[in-house]
């Protein structure tokens, strides 16, 4: 109670300080007057200050005073202040940006308070067995049997759809979900309602949809959106809800629309055997559950495993050999395709590491700047301490200055980071193959906190160090020493040099890594794909996105081929489901038909459905046999045939002729798909992705034998005029069928450049180059700072040497040589680091070695040139020292 009263009184004093101080002054004057002559009363100002201290607000006065003073001091040396703030802003900015991104996309838990959400998988019990999705009956059985451990168990299946919100169909992603899906994360919808149990039932076919928040915003954030129609894969769906802002589902990237599970069959073309979605054999669902309060993960896992065994016994033909396991998704990584594989984690680590290195360089630079500055200010501090400035008071003053710098830098960095995050996100959207809703990557408290902590640590380390060192000195000694003093200079320069060496080494590391990415992007763009790129055009279409069934889709495909063949200038036209360099490959296990050891002799090959003239359009010769006939392009036409490439032939029958032999697919579903295929033709192998060191085996089947909606028409144009043909081709395609969704019309070369691999490489090259550039800039600033400092310290020495006749060339050379020496040491260390980084990058980069002579020579040369330039300016200043001025200054 007494304490509270006391603080209330203190606050009262603070609020009416001026009046209270005035009272004290009047009171003391009165006292003095009453004492009569001669006044024995002391200095009233000093007394008043001491009396005032009783209220305990002195620190506040000091802080205000210090801040004002620090502001003035920094304003007096704007060059220093700007460099320091810029350094900090860059260092902090890139870190916040990168951290926000990695945190937002990969590390942040899906939803706050979703600690009890787990994902459930079906896993093969075979030693090398993989995971399998759930069928709807299996999911329902699991749900019923685990009702006492899960408060909620939901399922979803995500697939590509054609989404038309009034601007023509485009490719997007949709999740079919169970009725309770939105309850799992405790995230009610922003508008409208969730799906009903009736809508969930497989085959129900009720056309309702919930749209994502970003899509709703795109459509004008209209509250009247509910009840409107959107076209999904050609069908009209009624919007019944809008998801909560920031909800992106359980996959990355998140879908734009959610549909009830019962509508899944309307657009899914997944099941080749044509089984209904509700069958126990159709495994398409991923399952997440929310634990009941008080149920531990272990208890739930045990229950789930028991149910798994029961399902195995009940349906041995379907569930035999599959157990059910549960894992706790601690972060988004777990929901990523591949379940947070090592590569994803490695990439995240790499992305996180880079800005840390930049930050390190920035810190070294800052230390440099403050060190040089503290030497310059030695005399000023000495004067102030001899005038009665207490050590702690002076230290506090220097700390305030550092804090002001750090906070300004942090604020600038924060601003910079919002710009950088936006840019990074925009470039990320380009890399992703479809329009998707990305989770919210705004600042969160962790980012803000780490920025604040970093600023404070930077202040303590870089301001407190010099402060203690400086104020601890005997003031008198410092007053006597002039700023050209030898004894002091050496220590400062030595530390400064070490810092610069560190900066150069780290910048070289980033530059060299960037160089590797650039090299890789270059070699990727000039790589030989194994076929002719020139004169090629591609047109991607997907009739299913307009709701076309197989018959109408086939019709559209054939009509397009026929019509495009008639375009003047077009030499040949074909169609293919998996043209080279498509990011999604459909791989099958191929084996000689009827072989007893088929499983062990099988070879993985890209499965592709093609039309006539496929080899001809790619500029490949027929190595043997024949092309597909026109009859084979229509369904149900006699014998099952295939064309394989020479690499597959060599692996299946080494050293023997493959033509006329039979092959079979081991993993195809349905009895028809298991029938053998006659090899009627052999063509050369092509690469399927940029990263392939050699061509990948392919197996081609004719259009009539297998239907896929999304196909790529490939055209060969006479005389290399393909770019000029783009518009004509696009118009012809529109003329054939206006409603047909055309995904892209591009030249082969552009198509390859726009491929995911190439984009990732370019993004990597860009990011590393930017970071390397920032580090280089910082390192150059560091070299310049230290050299300028050295030269200004030695003005007197240079003056004397010029006075006694030293040629300016010698002085220039001396300063440059010293600069060159520390740069060389830094480059030496940096090269070792770069070699280490190269080892690591080699595994993820295409077509580069860990030791790339071009990179390892160019990067150091750039650094050397930049650092020599940075020391050249101070060196030139050294030669221009006017001897008379230099000597008089003493």
């Amino acid at each position: 109670m007494a304490i509270i009263g006391e603080w209330i009184r203190r606050l009262g004093y603070l609020l009416r300080r001026r009046a209270r101080e005035d009272e004290l002054r009047r009171e003391m004057e009165e006292h003095r007057a009453q004492m009569g002559e001669p006044p024995a009363f002391g200095n009233t100002l000093r007394l008043r200050e001491e009396a005032r201290d009783a209220w305990g607000w002195r620190w506040l006065d000091d802080l205000v005073q210090d801040t004002r003073f620090a502001w003035r001091t920094l304003r007096q040396s704007p060059g220093f202040a700007l460099t320091a703030i810029l350094t900090l802003a860059l260092g902090i900015g890139v870190n916040i940006a990168m951290f926000s991104l990695v945190n937002g996309l990969l590390l942040r838990p899906l939803y706050a308070g979703a600690d009890d959400v787990v994902s459930v998988h079906s896993r093969s019990t075979a030693p090398s067995g993989g995971a399998r999705a759930f069928s709807y009956p299996n999911y329902r059985d699991l749900q019923e049997a685990t009702a006492d451990v899960f408060a909620n168990l939901a399922a979803s299946s995500t697939s590509f759809v054609g989404l038309d919100v009034g601007r023509g169909p485009r490719r997007s992603m949709a999740s079919a979900v169970t009725a309770n899906y939105f309850q799992i994360f405790g995230m009610p919808l922003a508008h409208g309602r969730s799906f009903t149990v009736e809508e969930e039932r497989p085959g129900a076919g009720i056309r309702v949809a919930i749209i994502s928040y970003p899509l709703w915003e795109q459509l004008g954030a209209d509250p009247g959106m509910l009840g409107r129609l959107v076209r999904i894969s050609g069908e009209h769906f009624t919007v019944v809800g809008v998801a909560r802002e920031g909800f992106a589902g359980t996959s990355i990237p998140g879908p734009e629309v959610w549909l009830p599970l019962g509508a899944h069959e309307m657009f899914s073309t997944e099941d080749p055997a044509g089984r209904p979605f509700g069958a126990r054999e159709t495994h398409e669902l991923s399952v997440v559950g929310r634990l009941r309060p008080g149920i531990s993960v272990e208890t739930a896992a045990a229950t789930v495993a028991t149910v798994g065994r029961r399902l195995e016994l009940a349906f041995p033909s379907v569930n035999g050999g599959y157990s059910i396991v549960m894992s706790k998704p601690s972060s988004r990584l777990m929901f990523m395709p591949g379940g947070g594989s090592g590569a994803t984690a490695g990439l995240a680590l790499l992305l996180m590491l880079m800005p840390v290195i930049v930050l390190l360089v920035a810190c070294l630079n800052l230390a440099d700047l403050l060190l040089a500055r503290s030497h310059v200010r030695r005399q000023e501090l000495a004067i102030r301490s001899s005038l009665g400035g207490g050590r702690s008071r002076l230290t506090r003053q220097l700390l305030t200055e550092g804090l002001l710098l750090a906070l300004t830098g942090a604020a600038a960095g924060l601003w910079l980071s919002t710009l950088a995050t936006r840019t990074l996100l925009a470039s990320l959207r380009q890399v992703l193959p479809v329009a998707v809703s990305l989770p919210d990557v705004g600042l969160d408290w962790r980012v803000l906190l780490s920025t604040l902590v970093f600023s404070l640590v930077a202040t303590l380390v870089f301001a407190a160090g010099p402060a203690l060192a400086q104020t601890g000195r005997a003031a008198a000694a410092d007053l006597k020493r002039r700023t050209g003093d030898e004894g002091f200079r050496l220590g400062g320069v030595r530390i400064g040099n070490a810092l610069v060496i560190g900066q150069i080494a780290l910048s070289l590391l980033l530059l060299a890594s960037g160089g590797l990415f650039v090299m890789s992007a270059l070699s990727a763009s000039t790589a030989d794909p194994g076929f002719r790129l020139d004169g090629g055009l591609v047109v991607q279409v997907d009739p299913a996105l307009a709701g076309y069934d197989e018959a109408r889709g086939r019709e559209a495909h054939l009509a397009l081929i026929d019509r495009l063949r008639m375009v003047p200038g077009v030499e040949a036209v074909t169609i293919g489901s998996r043209p080279p360099f498509t990011s999604i490959g459909d791989s099958r296990h191929v084996a000689p038909a009827g072989a007893a050891d088929a499983r062990s002799r099988s070879v993985g090959a890209v499965f592709s459905v093609v039309g006539r003239d496929y080899a001809r359009v790619l500029g490949l010769p027929m190595l043997g046999g024949r092309d597909f006939s026109d009859a084979e392009l229509a369904p149900g036409s006699g014998e099952r045939v295939a064309i394989i490439d020479d690499s597959l032939a060599e692996e299946l029958w080494p050293g023997e002729a493959a033509l006329g032999r039979l092959i079979q697919f081991l993993d195809a579903e349905g009895p028809e798909a298991r029938q053998p295929l006659l090899v009627v033709g052999i063509i050369p192998a092509v690469k399927h992705s940029l990263g392939d060191p050699r061509p990948y085996p392919h197996v081609y089947v004719p259009l009539g034998q297998h239907y896929e909606s999304e196909m790529t028409l490939q055209l060969r144009v006479a005389g290399g005029g393909e770019r000029a043909m783009l518009d004509t081709v696009a118009r012809v395609v529109r003329d054939v069928d206006e409603r047909l969704p055309v995904l892209s019309v591009a030249t082969w070369r552009d198509h390859l450049d726009a491929g995911l691999d190439a984009r990732l490489l370019r993004a990597g090259a860009g990011v590393f180059s930017v970071f390397g550039g920032i580090a280089l800039l910082l390192a150059v600033l560091g070299v310049y700072g230290v050299k300028s400092y050295v030269v200004s310290r030695r003005t007197r020495e240079f003056g004397i040497r010029i006075a006694i006749g030293a040629p300016p060339r010698v002085l220039l050379w001396q300063v440059l040589r010293e600069g060159g020496r520390i740069t060389t040491i830094g480059i030496g260390i940096g090269l070792l680091l770069a070699l280490g980084a190269g080892q690591f990058l080699q595994s993820i980069l295409y077509g580069v070695n860990s030791i790339e002579p071009v990179v390892l020579v160019t990067a150091p040369l750039i650094l050397l040139a930049a650092s020599l330039l940075a020391s050249y300016i101070p060196a030139l200043r050294a030669t221009r020292v006017d001897p008379t001025v230099a000597l008089r200054s003493e």
Partner: protein
């Protein structure tokens, strides 16, 4: 501070009068410097043991008078008690020698 509270116990006084009273009551033995008096008074204000108010003095001038508060009285008693115990303990110790 104990001394200031003690002289204020009987009547409210202003700064100069407090100094004079202490000097007088201690038979000229103790002199409170202004440098200690005003910080002490401010501290008493912070603690809430005295209250200050402007009033006209005998000579017709405006002076700032300090009045002891109930919590100030309790504090004085405690401090006097504490001081007595201390003094008697020291006395005992000295007598022993």
């Amino acid at each position: 501070m104990m001394l200031v509270l003690r002289v204020l116990k009987s009547e409210p006084l202003h700064g100069y009068a407090i100094a004079k009273r202490i000097h007088l009551l201690s038979a000229d033995e103790l002199r409170v410097e202004e440098g200690s008096l005003y910080p002490a008074l401010q501290k008493l204000l912070v603690k809430g043991w005295v209250k200050a108010a402007w009033r006209g003095s005998d000579s017709g001038r405006q002076v700032r008078g300090y009045r002891i508060t109930p919590s100030g009285r309790r504090q004085l008693e405690a401090e006097v008690e504490e001081y007595r115990r201390m003094a008697s303990a020291i006395g005992l110790l000295l007598d022993e020698g």
